[in-house]
Every structure is written in C-alpha cells, then in structure tokens.
C-alpha cells in the first residue's frame, strides 16, 4: 500500500511518483493530481520545463480535450514508479502525454489518469485526509532489500 496526500487549501488529491523517460534519459519525481476523469496520464508543461524536456525532440501526439477546450500534446514512452513504504516498487509502462507549453497551463499539476488508476485500488477519505493506493497489477514489482537488523 502507498499513500498520497491532500493538497494545500484546495484539498486536491496528489500522489508522488518517479517518472522515467528512457529515450530522453530523464528520471525525476513528479507530483500528480489524482484524476479519475482523465483517460491518460499527462505531464503538464510546469513539470516538462522543470524536467528539462526539450519539446523539439518530442513526437507529436493527438489533440487532447478537457473542460478548457482542446490542446496539442506530445507522446513519450514512460515508466511510472510508485514506492510502497520501504518494501516494494511498482512499475507501470505507459505512453505519457506531454501537454504543449501554454501560459494558461503553467500552474497546473500533471495528472495521473485512468491508464494507471485502473490498475490500482484507491481508498479516498477526504474528511480524514487519507488517500491510499493498493496495486492490483503492475508491469513489474521490485522487492527492496531489507536492512539487516542491528
């Protein structure tokens, strides 16, 4: 089981994961908004800029549509990794969408969509500010070495 957090004053649910973009040789922590309404996981330009993603190297993806209208996206093979306490890592291999750089998107956090959420069980308790996840399936699970007891 791994846990997320409820954000600041907005109360939005977040979860942190390691995002690996092998082709671009990028590996970085990303804080995602848990969004069951998003069909796919996307990196918003705030994270793309922080990660040093060069948009010129990206492959054009399809246009995406949200409440604010449509926007251009790029696609990249990615590995999304969650860590369960000090015990296991869960790996998900996906095509992540990378949203075009636009001023109105710069303050928005990246979204963890149903391509991953469908493979997790979520326990969402906003009143107690607890959000936990249990992996139903993953592309790989890695058991972390336990520290020898002293």
């Amino acid at each position: 089981m791994f846990s997320g957090r409820f954000g600041d004053t907005s109360g939005r649910p977040y979860i942190e994961a390691q995002v690996i973009l092998p082709r671009l040789k990028i590996s970085s922590g990303v804080s995602f908004i848990v969004d069951t309404g998003a069909d796919q996981t996307v990196l918003m330009p705030l994270d793309a800029v922080r990660l040093g993603i060069d948009y010129r190297k990206l492959r054009r993806g399809q246009n995406l549509f949200g409440v604010g209208g449509s926007c251009k996206s790029y696609r990249e093979s990615a590995l999304i990794v969650f860590s369960e306490n000090n015990r296991r890592l869960f790996l998900y291999e996906i095509e992540v969408g990378i949203i075009e750089k636009r001023r109105e998107f710069m303050r928005t956090r990246s979204l963890l969509g149903r391509d991953i959420l469908d493979r997790l069980r979520m326990d969402y308790n906003a009143s107690k500010r607890i959000i936990t996840f249990k992996a139903i399936s993953s592309d790989a699970t890695i058991r972390l070495p336990t520290r020898p007891s002293s």
Binding site: R5, F6, G7, D8, T9, S10, R12, Y14, E16, A17, Q18, I20, P22, I26, S27, S28, G29, S31, I33, D35, G37, A38, D39, Q40, V42, L46, V49, R50, L51, G52, Q62, N63, L64, F65, G66, V67, G69, S70, L79, V81, S83, N86, L89, L91, E93, M106, R107, T108, L111, G113, D139, A140, I142, L144, P145
Partner: protein, 117 residues
C-alpha cells in the same frame, strides 16, 4: 528467456538502481509534503509567487517560473528532486475532468465552428 521475463529485464534496465530510485523518490515526497503541511505559512510568506522546495526547505522564490528555475540551477540543487509550485493567495477552482482524445469525441482536431443559419 520468456517474453515476460525479458520484458521485466528491460524494465529493470530502464529503472536503474532501485534502492537509489526509492531514496530519491522518498526525498521528493518529503519536499512535496511541505506544500501540504506548511501551506498556510507559505501563503503568508510567498503570496502569488513561485517557490522551489528541496527536502524540507524553500530554496528559491520569485515572480516567474524562469527566475525560480534559474535560482535552482544556480544553487546546483538537483531539479529532479525539487518541487516547483505557484503559491496562490486566492484559490482557483479547477475542473480537470474528461481529459481525453479529441478524436474520441468526434470533434475535429482544429475545434468546432458554428455556422450561422
């Protein structure tokens, strides 16, 4: 080697050292949790400013994202373990639902145009 085993080997190769990755993710989570646990204080100190948090500390703040990222780079702090955030004084209401492919909706890629009758 079975295709499942070879896929796992490939994923592990992409992952690198799992212990190091776990440690890095743990540090990043600690920085992210600062945004939740100290948000009220952050609003008081950095209203409507960009901030960068590394480990438990705000290491840079400024009016623009570029300025904050430059400061992070100047301090030689690993950007992959730094969380960057805009501290909004007045909370925006965001509706993020239904992010899907435009094609799935039958909407042309360049959007809809209403024709006058």
């Amino acid at each position: 080697m079975s295709s499942r085993a070879s896929k796992k080997t490939e994923l592990l190769r992409m992952l690198g050292n799992p212990v190091r990755l776990h440690r890095e993710l743990k540090r990043f989570r600690r920085a992210a949790h600062v945004l939740s646990s100290r948000h009220r204080r952050l609003i008081q100190k950095y209203p409507n400013q960009w901030i960068a948090v590394y480990d438990d500390d705000v290491i840079a703040s400024g009016a623009t994202l570029d300025a904050v990222l430059k400061e992070v780079a100047k301090r030689k702090v690993p950007q992959e373990r730094t969380i960057v955030h805009f501290v909004e004084k007045n909370q925006r209401t965001m509706i993020l639902c239904n992010l899907c492919l435009v094609g799935d909706l039958g909407i042309p890629a360049d959007g809809l145009t209403l024709k006058p009758r």
